[in-house]
């Protein structure tokens, strides 16, 4: 591939940066891997009452919107300090579309992990398969993931991949500043915010709205049509030696027993009475919703 001779020197300032920035002077390219997922275009799924079938509108798919932020951070870091961004996904052949989309935004190479044997994977098997793919991709400084997917909504696969790779990770990252041998990262834990130095290599899951993802470029899109995507199946990802494997349904620890429609939203109840009665009932409802807090911040009934 066409690799510019990226040197890690740097002039100018990062967005929201701090005074002192030491960029890698090892003359080594920054290797960034971004994990992507193809998700259904709509999350509105209904269960057919009679047959129990999931009814899903059409077959259109898109890139998991949360992954766009991870990709944008990867591309920005590449632009700031040089290196390359490789994108990885697991799924059926059609998932090539998200890799091409990432390439039309600026990603350098795409890797697709595809095999019927990967189907039916839970968190354990999905993260195992991705980690096996990453190991095969070679050295990296940083892995970026979206903070969660819109279809699975678990936010678990990113940290799970980090565990397989035995590297540190941080979740819900809002800001990344590269240094010589580490990144300075701001992570939002909801009730508190941490600013940390995290060593390389590491995995970061990127918070929503922590940047504005760029639009695909027409030229890059055209160029990406002809670019090859590396495809690996189960046999490519088998570990050396006699290690256990955790692919697909057979490598999953959990099993879906059944799916069913959620309980219907209750009908509107209108409450009338004297204002004293209404006030009492109002407070009762607040208690039922478990939203009253005492001084220590505990809810109670």
């Amino acid at each position: 591939m066409n690799r510019k001779n990226h040197r890690f020197f740097f002039a100018g300032s990062f967005e929201g940066s701090i005074e002192e920035i030491h960029i890698n002077k090892r003359g080594e390219d920054m290797e960034i891997i971004v994990c992507l997922k193809q998700v259904p275009d709509t999350t509105i799924v209904e269960v057919d009452e009679k047959t129990g079938v999931l009814k899903r509108e059409g077959t259109r798919t898109k890139m998991n919107p949360f992954d766009l932020y991870a990709l944008e951070w990867g591309l920005r870091l590449k632009e700031q300090i040089g290196g390359r961004v490789r994108v990885l996904t697991m799924g059926p052949l059609q998932a090539v579309a998200v890799l091409k989309e990432a390439m039309s935004m600026g990603a350098d190479e795409g890797f697709l992990l595809t095999d019927r044997a990967f189907a039916g994977a839970d968190v354990l098997a999905t993260s195992y398969t991705l980690a096996q793919g990453i190991k095969k991709m070679g050295a990296y400084h940083m892995i970026l993931c979206g903070k969660q997917t819109v279809d699975g909504d678990t936010a678990q696969v990113g940290p799970a991949v980090a565990e397989w790779l035995k590297i540190p990770h941080m979740s819900q990252v809002r800001d990344i500043i590269p240094f010589n041998h580490h990144f300075r990262v701001t992570a939002d834990y909801g009730e508190f915010v941490q600013i940390c130095d995290i060593q390389m290599p590491c995995l970061l899951t990127i918070d929503k709205d922590s940047c504005v993802p760029r639009l695909p470029s027409y030229l890059l899109r055209k160029a990406s049509q002809e670019r090859e995507i590396t495809q690996w199946n189960r046999s490519h990802l088998l570990p050396e030696g006699n290690e256990d494997v955790f692919f697909g349904l057979d490598g999953s620890a959990t099993q879906v027993e059944r799916i069913f429609p959620p309980p219907k939203k209750e009908e509107l109840i209108i409450f009338r009475g004297t204002s004293a009665e209404i006030s009492l009932e109002f407070v009762r409802q607040l208690q039922r919703l478990k939203l009253l807090k005492n001084d220590e911040g505990y809810t109670y009934e």
């Binding site: 999931l54 909504d153 940390c196 590491c202 057979d250 407070v283 939203l291 009934e301």
Partner: protein, 398 residues
């Protein structure tokens, strides 16, 4: 490899079977023979619709899963910034309720630094035992030592079930522990049920909440689940004895982390209406800006944030970032209380994400009652002060 097998039988109406698959995983050829394509996720839905055509061929699971006998329920007690997170209480109560019929012990795991001052608080938890990992390296949440401590606990105790709060910290920690134990993890459960054989039935929304899924962990122990705050009931369960406190050391090698925390600070409470958990929306039913005092009073006792409908913002009662609706912000609180809001379509467009809506309005015909879950027809000037008084008397009782 486990797979779905299709019998080579010509079918008259292939579309019926194609439609039965939620993932478009079935293909039909021109002659009416069906086959499974690479979109199949082995959900086995097709077996229900064409048992004569489809069958599931199972291959043995990976042998690496932990198959040893396990018992008891463990709960991760989340400690950060000198506080034990309330979700821990909720999970302990749930664990107690699930475990009681089967005489399962409930064991808490507390990971942190200088935890001595929490001993009184811990003694009130309806727990049988609390296992404490207390080391300076555990002062701030850093993933490797935290996950090492919980994994070490599992190695020693072999619990059957491990519950973790689905807070940002819990969602970061739980998957690492699950992978290091090679076990299953179900996120954001809304229902948990323990069967007499020790199996944990985990219910959670799937596909963006439109479908519920029941999940089991037949292989791998502990059976791990995370639960979001406020999902489980918080009962002050009667539990006569204080938990036994057990301190376990975290080996030096396990205290290492590739993360160096420079700063960790609490965030100020949400000032953004789109992030708030409880929102009180005020509309034209509230007549004068001075009347906001009683609403602020209520908001304070509920830790709620006050927002407004468009007319009040236009009248200059508050900054526009506090406006709900099509031209304002969309909100997703757990609870929305509307006071004197009529509920025009433009307003309602901004509150679709609210989980539960309580509406107070003097007009029984107000459109707000069409979108609310519970409506109160009455005068807010009488109701609100009384509610505030009631809330104050409750908090005094505690």
């Amino acid at each position: 490899m486990s797979r779905i097998v299709v019998k080579k039988i010509k079918v008259d109406c292939p579309q019926f079977y194609l439609d039965s698959c939620p993932f478009q995983g079935i293909t039909a050829d021109a002659e009416g023979f069906l086959s499974i394509n690479d979109r199949c996720r082995l959900c086995k839905m097709c077996l229900k619709f064409g048992p004569e055509l489809f069958s599931f061929e199972e291959e043995g699971h990976a042998s690496a899963f932990n198959q040893i006998q396990t018992k008891d329920i463990a709960v991760f007690l989340e400690w950060q910034h000198e506080k034990i997170h309330p979700v821990s209480w909720e999970l302990v109560c749930k664990a107690r309720e699930m475990g009681e019929p089967f005489q399962q012990k409930v064991i808490g795991i507390l990971v942190g630094a200088s935890l001595e001052k929490h001993m009184d608080e811990l003694s009130e938890f309806p727990l049988d035992e609390v296992v404490i990992y207390d080391a300076p390296a555990l002062q701030d949440f850093r993933i490797e030592p935290y996950s090492a401590a919980v994994t070490d606990f599992i190695r020693v105790y072999n619990p059957n079930v491990l519950l973790i709060g689905a807070t940002p910290l819990g969602r970061s920690l739980a998957p690492r522990v699950a992978i290091s134990c090679k076990t299953g993890l179900t996120a954001d459960c809304t229902g948990l049920e323990l069967l007499s054989n020790g199996a944990l039935i985990q219910t959670r929304p799937a596909f963006g909440g439109n479908i519920m899924a029941q999940i089991k962990t037949p292989l791998g122990r502990p059976q791990m689940a995370t639960v979001r705050p406020h999902v489980m009931n918080m009962k002050r369960v009667a539990h006569c004895s204080s938990p036994r406190i057990i301190r376990l050391p975290l080996r030096e090698a396990l205290q290492y982390s590739g993360i160096n925390v420079l700063e960790s600070k609490m965030k100020p409470p949400a000032q953004d209406i789109s992030e708030a958990e409880i929102v009180i929306a005020v509309g034209r039913g509230v007549k004068r800006p001075e009347d906001l005092a009683m609403i602020q009073d209520l908001a304070q006792s509920l830790s709620a944030i006050v927002a407004f409908s468009r007319p009040l913002i236009e009248a200059g009662w508050a900054e526009s970032r506090f406006q709900i609706g099509l031209s304002g912000r969309s909100i997703q609180p757990k609870l929305l209380i509307t006071i004197g809001v009529s509920g025009a379509v433009q307003f309602s467009a901004g509150i679709q994400g609210a989980e539960y809506i309580l509406a107070i309005n003097s007009d029984p015909e107000a459109p707000i009652f069409n979108v609310a879950d519970l409506g109160f027809v009455g005068d807010c000037y009488e109701i609100i002060p009384q509610v505030s008084d009631l809330l104050k008397s409750i908090s005094k009782e505690r």
